[in-house]
Each structure stands twice: as structure tokens, then as C-alpha cells.
């Protein structure tokens, strides 16, 4: 049996009295593209944040396989507006302990076709999201967590993003992405997890989900 990159056991999260995520079990295994779907407020971003390690669960825990790096692309871009794209990439590359931060930044700037030396605050919406994704790719992580990554991208940019994601999977990595676009589910997911009102309703193969649950998830 393949060892899971990430294993969530009973992870739950409250914000004050509000329950954002009820106790949830989930695994992320090599080679898969796991889609998290559900309506707004279902708990997708909370679950991804917990898996990424940027949010502590109120209960439960996440096990990470030894030495596995996790790339994190939050829904709202996470970088410094007053730094340029190059400076942001170099800073986070240093924090990720990339051996050659300048080269890593240069490679990602080219890969994502980003303006290098303009303040990030002046970038277009699409470029901002590409920089956000590029930052998630630092350190060549085998696990990539993407929170609605294509929401602000044009069709060409979406295609290039999924090509990048496909490379991660082809190299034995895993991708978890939250989406509300059921077309992306069909095209790019190998497995699906359905969340509703903070509760995991379904986790399984895409075709199984489509046969049984597609209509009720967004109803």
C-alpha cells in the first residue's frame, strides 16, 4: 500500500462559537489529484489551510510523511505588495531554504511569465494569482495544495496552470485543489471530497461521486 503524503485524523476547526469544520479524516496519496468541492462556507479553505499547516486545528492532527514538502496556494494571494515579484520569490525561496534562491526565483519568473521588477501591488489580477501559484511551487514540493487557483485566470492561464500541476503528478507528487468549477473536476481530478456545512459528505472516485451525489452537493 502506498504511504500517504498527508493523513488528517479527526481534524476540526472552530472560530469562536462557529464550527468551520467538523472532525474530518482525509488522506492525500502520491499520484492523485484530489478535488475539494462544496458550496461557499463548506469548509474547503479551512481544511486546505489545516493540511498546509497555516492553520492549527481545534481538534485532531495532520500527519506528514517524513521529508515531504507541501506547496501552498491560498485563495487570496499571500505575498508582500511593496516587494517586486522577484523579491517576493527570492525572500520565500530563502525561507524555504532553496540552495540558490536567485536562480529559483528566475526560473519561476520565466515559468509563470511574470514581470520581475515591478511592485507586486501593480500587477494585474491574473499576474497576482500567477505569482501566488509560483510561490507555492518554491522548493519543488511533491504535494501542492491549491485553493480555487483558477478563479481569476483567463482560459490560457488556466491551461498553463493545469499543465504545471500535471507535471507535479507525473513526477509522483499529489495535488489537492478546491474548486467550484465542476468542469475542472471532470478534467483534472482523480478523486473527490465533498464538504457541506463543515462536514465531509463524500470522499471517493470522481465517477462514483458523479453517479450518486452530483445533484445534491450544490443544492
Amino acid at each position: 500500500m502506498t504511504e500517504a503524503f498527508l493523513r488528517a485524523r479527526g481534524v476540526a476547526r472552530r472560530f469562536g462559537a462557529q464550527v468551520a469544520l467538523e472532525p474530518t479524516d482525509l488522506e492525500v496519496v502520491p499520484g492523485e489529484a484530489l478535488a475539494l468541492i462544496g458550496p461557499n462556507g463548506a469548509g474547503k479553505s479551512t481544511l486546505l489551510s489545516i493540511l498546509a499547516g497555516s492553520l492549527d486545528p481545534s481538534a485532531g492532527h495532520v500527519q506528514r510523511a517524513d521529508g515531504v514538502r507541501v506547496g501552498w496556494v491560498p485563495q487570496r494571494p499571500a505575498y508582500y505588495d511593496r516587494l517586486t515579484a522577484r523579491e517576493n520569490l527570492e525572500l520565500f525561496a530563502r525561507l524555504e531554504r532553496e540552495p540558490d534562491p536567485a536562480s529559483a526565483a528566475e526560473r519561476l519568473l520565466a515559468q509563470f511569465d511574470l514581470p520581475a521588477d515591478r511592485p507586486s501591488s501593480t500587477l494585474s489580477v491574473g499576474n497576482r494569482q500567477r505569482l501566488n501559484v509560483a510561490l507555492g511551487m518554491l522548493g519543488a514540493p511533491p504535494v501542492l495544495l491549491l485553493d480555487e487557483p483558477t478563479a481569476s485566470l483567463d482560459p490560457g492561464q488556466r491551461r498553463r496552470l493545469w499543465e504545471t500541476v500535471a507535471v507535479v503528478r507525473e513526477q509522483g507528487g499529489a495535488v489537492v485543489f478546491a474548486t467550484q468549477n465542476l468542469e475542472e473536476l471532470d478534467l483534472y481530478a482523480t478523486r473527490v471530497a465533498v464538504l457541506q456545512r463543515g462536514r465531509l459528505r463524500f470522499a471517493g472516485a470522481v465517477d462514483e461521486y458523479e453517479r450518486a451525489h452530483a445533484e445534491e452537493v450544490f443544492s
Partner: protein
């Protein structure tokens, strides 16, 4: 540590690009310091006092053979208080409305009593209630002291004139009548013309001794009237604008504004830019993030504080002002600036973590700065509670440290005490900021 330095480097780079913000952060506290200086200057300016002349004093008053110009006397006392002539009713209204802080009334018959030399007339004064009344009373006492000094000179002159008459004899006028006085000297001469006898010798001897004794009357009267004199030496001290206290307050105020606002804004901005979620994924811990903001505040406080101290030092050198150690003590001052900046930065980080959003954090920091500064400006001897509050905050300790390090001949005890306070406060607020920083992830 290196990750903390990376975040610190990022913050300094961002700060360097926020020139308008830095300009405002530097200019605003300096402006406030100048305003505080002006208010302090106003506080020590001449109080406005109503003068009610119910005795209708003439322009020139002659007392004890000396002429007094009333306007000259008013001008002289005007060095301490601003006297404004008013009617009794007008003065009463002005006192009630606060347009004057006191009324000084010359009652009817004042001049007649004064001229008689028999009765001692009184000036009447009334002040507003509150803290300034004691100061006004002091000013009015100084006014009466000044008038009494002039009158003493006149009275002494008159008294000595009578003594001279008794000694040497001559014509005199007393209570409107003219007299011819023989005088002790001529009395002694006359006695010696009388037939010699034991009684004549005794009286002549008394006249001689009395004459000698009365010869000392002038100096004796002067020393009795003024047992202790007060003489003003030429001014050697530095002007109040360059005083140790102003410099220490300017430093304290500036770095308090800067450190609090920078640390609060910078920490909250990590959440605003959504970067904190990326950082805490094992890249930078919350403790390192808080430490970076504290270090940012300390470094900026050091740089700006030293710049202000150097400017002060140059002005002091150019002005040839004596006192203080503008250059030798700079390293000592640098230590205090770093620690004060760190303690204030820790407090700012705590505010930033609690406020969570950069705008709210900046607003909270501005709102908090004013009470901190003013609590530190209130003398603890007057309001003990203000002293306790300012003891629990870094501003007052920073000001005392700066003042001691720059101007005290033996600053070590004071510096050691204030350093201990600043280190303790930095640790407490830093710990609080670290605990509160979890709110940034919510």
C-alpha cells in the same frame, strides 16, 4: 534567527520604500514635541492679573521723600505678571470667566496709610481655583516683595535723614510742622562749654557714644530690612530650548511614536497581506515574526534617535552652549535607544496582534501613544497614579534614561535602574505579543 533576520530585512526594505510614511512618522512626533514645548512655554508665561485701583492712585506718588511713577512700578512687576487695569466689576467678571487668573485690588485709603508710615496698608488679591492659584499667589507675593523693596529703600532714606538730623542737627518737617533740631554733635560741643562736673561729663560721654552708635544706623537698617539678599548672576546655562529635558522628551516622544506605530502596523500588515499564513507553515514561527517587528522598532529608534541627538549636538556646539556631553555619551545613548525602541516595539507588536488589521492597529497605536506620553509628562509627585501608570510603560523610563545618559555627571545608578525597567517591559510586552499573535491566524 536567520529567518527572523530575513523578515527584518524585508521590513526594512518595505519601510525604505514607504518614504511618505517615514516622513510622517518622523515629522509628526517632532511637531508634537514642538507643540508640547510651546504649551510648556505658555504654562510658564506671565499670568494675566486684573489691577483694580479703588484708591485712584496718582501718576506719581511721593513717599519718604522719593517719587514713584505708578506706571514704572507696573512695568517692573510686569516682568512676572501681566497687570491689566480694570474696574472692580470688570475684574470680577474677568476672574469668573477665566480671562484673568487673579485680581489685585488697591483699596481706598491705601496711599494715605502708606504715606503716614504709621499703619501698614494691605493690597487685596483673589485667584481662580485650581492648580494655577498657588503659582499666581507666588507671582503676587513676588510683586509685593518687589514693591516693598522699593519702599524699603525710600523709608530707609527717610529714617536715615532723621538719624542725620539727630546726629548733626538742622531743620526738619514732621506731621506738617517745622522744627529746628540741635543734633548730638553740637549738643556735645555745647556741653563742653558748661562748667566741668561729673554730671556734665556723663551726659557728654553719652552724647559721644550715641553719636558713634547712630553712625552705624544706615548699614544696620539695611541689613535688618534685608537679612538675605538675592543677586542674579550672568546667564551661563543653556536656553530652555536646548535643555536636557527638552532633548530627552524630543527623543522619547519621537521613538515612542515611531516604534509603537511601526511594530503595530508591521505585524498587523502580515495578516492584511495574507503572508502570515504562508510564513507559519514552518518557515517563520510566530515568535520569530514578533521578534522581527520588535527588532525593526529598535533599529529604527536607534537610527532616528541618534540622528536627533547628533542634530542637537551640532546645535549645541555651534551655539557654544556649556553643559552636557553631546558626543562622549552617544554610545550610552545608543544602548538606551535600542532598548527603549525594543520595549516600545514589543508594546506596539502587542497592539498590532490584538488589532489584527493594519489600519486598526495604526489607529489604536496613535490613540495609545498620547496617554502614554502625557502620563509620562505628569510629575508623579503631583499625581501619583500617573507615576504608577507611566512606570508600567516604556516612555517615562526612556526619557529618564536619555536625560541621565546625556547630562548626569554620574549616570550609572539611574541608567542601570531604567535599563532594568526597559528590559523587563520589553520581555513582558514581547511575551504578550507572542501570545496575542495567534489571533493573526484566525
Amino acid at each position: 534567527m536567520s529567518r527572523m533576520l530575513l523578515v527584518l530585512g524585508k521590513d526594512l526594505r518595505v519601510l525604505r520604500r514607504s518614504q511618505l510614511l517615514v516622513t510622517l512618522l518622523v515629522a509628526y512626533p517632532l511637531l508634537v514635541a514642538a507643540l508640547v514645548g510651546l504649551v510648556a512655554g505658555y504654562g510658564s508665561s506671565k499670568p494675566r492679573v486684573a489691577l483694580v485701583d479703588e484708591d485712584h492712585l496718582p501718576a506719581v506718588v511721593r513717599i519718604g521723600g522719593e517719587s514713584f511713577r505708578i506706571n514704572d512700578a507696573i512695568r517692573e512687576v510686569g516682568k512676572n505678571v501681566h497687570l491689566v487695569r480694570m474696574s472692580a466689576a470688570g475684574a470680577d467678571r474677568a476672574l469668573r470667566s477665566g480671562r484673568v487668573v487673579a485680581t489685585l485690588t488697591v483699596p481706598p485709603g491705601f496711599l494715605a496709610d502708606l504715606k503716614s508710615g504709621i499703619a501698614s496698608p494691605n493690597l487685596m488679591y483673589q485667584t481662580t481655583k485650581g492648580g494655577i492659584s498657588s503659582r499666581v499667589t507666588q507671582q503676587l507675593q513676588a510683586l509685593v516683595y518687589s514693591l516693598n523693596r522699593r519702599l524699603q529703600r525710600a523709608y530707609l532714606g527717610t529714617d536715615l535723614h532723621y538719624v542725620q538730623l539727630i546726629l548733626h542737627g538742622g531743620d526738619a518737617t514732621f506731621v506738617g510742622r517745622k522744627y529746628h533740631v540741635l543734633g548730638l554733635e553740637r549738643m556735645h560741643v555745647l556741653l563742653l562749654t558748661l562748667p566741668k562736673s561729673r554730671t556734665r561729663d556723663q551726659v557728654a560721654n553719652f552724647a559721644r557714644i550715641a553719636g558713634v552708635a547712630l553712625g552705624f544706623t544706615g548699614s544696620l537698617l539695611s541689613s535688618t530690612a534685608n537679612p538675605i539678599g538675592l543677586e542674579r548672576a550672568p546667564e551661563k546655562a543653556r536656553s530652555s530650548l536646548l535643555s536636557a529635558q527638552v532633548q530627552a522628551y524630543a527623543l522619547g516622544l519621537t521613538i515612542t511614536f515611531l516604534s509603537l506605530l511601526l511594530a503595530a502596523g508591521a505585524l498587523a500588515a502580515e495578516r492584511d497581506e495574507n503572508a502570515v499564513g504562508r510564513l507559519v507553515r514552518g518557515l517563520v514561527s510566530l515568535g520569530e515574526l514578533v521578534a522581527a517587528k520588535i527588532a525593526l522598532a529598535a533599529i529604527v529608534a536607534l537610527a532616528l534617535g541618534l540622528a536627533i541627538a547628533v542634530v542637537f549636538g551640532v546645535i549645541v556646539e555651534i551655539g557654544g552652549v556649556v553643559g552636557g556631553e553631546p558626543w562622549v555619551r552617544l554610545p550610552l545613548l545608543a544602548v538606551g535607544l535600542l532598548l527603549a525602541g525594543a520595549a516600545l516595539g514589543a508594546l506596539g507588536a502587542l497592539l498590532g496582534a490584538l488589532a489584527r488589521e493594519a489600519r486598526a492597529a495604526s489607529l489604536v497605536a496613535v490613540l495609545v501613544v498620547m496617554p502614554i506620553v502625557f502620563a509620562g509628562l505628569i510629575p508623579s509627585q503631583i499625581v501619583p497614579v500617573a507615576g504608577w501608570v507611566s512606570d508600567a510603560l516604556p516612555f517615562a523610563h526612556a526619557v529618564r534614561y536619555f536625560s541621565s545618559s546625556l547630562y548626569d555627571a554620574s549616570p550609572w545608578a539611574s541608567i542601570g535602574r531604567e535599563l532594568a525597567w526597559l528590559v523587563g517591559l520589553a520581555a513582558i510586552f514581547g511575551l504578550g505579543a507572542r501570545i496575542a499573535a495567534r489571533r493573526l491566524l484566525a
